[in-house]
Symmetry: D2
Subunit: 138 residues, 4 copies
């Protein structure tokens, strides 16, 4: 199963008055990691992915995180991302953030392959994920 | 069980290129709602709470969200927050975000009552939640 | 000259490890205040403004801030916003953030009235600001 | 004069409904670039810098940006940062963000070398910048 690794430098502005990462930032990191995983698998970036598959996006229906160990500004952490499960039009991405050898944060995202509704660009609906996309992650 | 309501105006800068709220912003909203809930229950703000109870903070060990319906800039949504469960040193906060009458997002936060370790201001550990705090939410 | 006031509660997540507002958050506040100013003047929100005037947005060409006094989480500050100057297709918005009676931050934004280029929704160009818009701020 | 270059990948979550970088994100990028510049010059990260020089931080008194060309998600931009001017206790950092060969954004930050006030960890004041710091940027 294809996975992707990404180094993230924890910035001053990502940290709260307690001196540790403000937890919504982890969800931001993971969103960027999902995009990087798809870029890695497909060979082209998200902007290109939206055009080629004529999709509106891959919005979330569920997100969760377990925070085991805090990180602070100046830390360089590593995130390992993979698709855990493919459904018909939804899929689940797992992110594991390591601080050194320690598993610091675990995140799960359930996302939906979403296309525009013809005639109404402001609306969107789920759509079966193309087989050629899934195959790229094998 | 004490609950707190808060109106939130969805801002342009909270929304992504798809035109809907970028999902980590919901976790930011909910963090602010938890602080508002404690402010409402205790009668004083978080800064005062940290001082009076000599705590370092109430960091998260777990966070999750279910996204049912998207919101967009200009929307005014309402969040209803309550503590669902009190443990010895941890507690669970539930947030329900409504767009009109529709339940749009549901969030859960598991947080820990955390104190500084004497002699080392950069470290912290869990601590039993004072009874007087819990009683304020009855 | 029409002005608009807005109260802003400084949130935990807006503050840095030093305990004060991370400065880019002021620019976020001010962006929301500009949208609120236009909403107040025109009588309808930004989403409606984009549609009615068929504009792509009011992006910035210049932004600046002077930070006189820091604010911290729990503070409730007040922002006073007004359009200082109207050009043909650009305009300058002034924001003054008060902490109590103290002028804490002053910001200026130079923005451009921007329309889509027919046939290419991904591109945009400046366009003269409609007189009916400017008149609403008198 | 020492300068530092940094590549930044524009993320989906950094962009607004118009599809371009929400402008306060540029100030976030530049804050991280200033920290990277000091890290590069001094040879150790900001957390270490705060401890070694017993400073509270390097907060801003002024920030400004000129936005020439927008960037969008998927773009990889390059920021070139340098200290333009050293005062007694303040200094000015210049950031130039390039999209390919094009100068897309120019930013200036005026910052102050700030130390804690003995006996009151919540307050701070300006302090002359150590010569050994300035010399590292020569």
């Amino acid at each position: 199963m294809l996975s992707h690794h990404r180094e993230i430098q924890i910035e001053w502005g990502d940290c709260d008055p307690f001196g540790i990462v403000f937890f919504p930032r982890y969800f931001e990191y993971f969103d960027a990691c999902t995009n990087a995983l798809f870029h890695h698998a497909l060979g082209f970036p998200k902007a290109e992915m939206l055009k080629r598959f004529q999709i509106a996006g891959i919005p979330l229906v569920q997100a969760s995180c377990n925070f085991h160990v805090p990180s602070s500004f100046g830390d360089v952490v590593k995130v390992e991302s993979r698709v855990l499960k493919w459904g018909t039009s939804s899929f689940t991405v797992q992110h594991r953030l390591f601080r050194g050898e320690t598993l610091a944060v675990e995140g799960l995202e359930k996302r939906v392959w979403t296309v525009h509704i013809p005639g109404d660009p402001s609306k969107a609906k789920s759509h079966p994920i193309p087989k050629e996309v899934i195959e790229k992650f094998a």
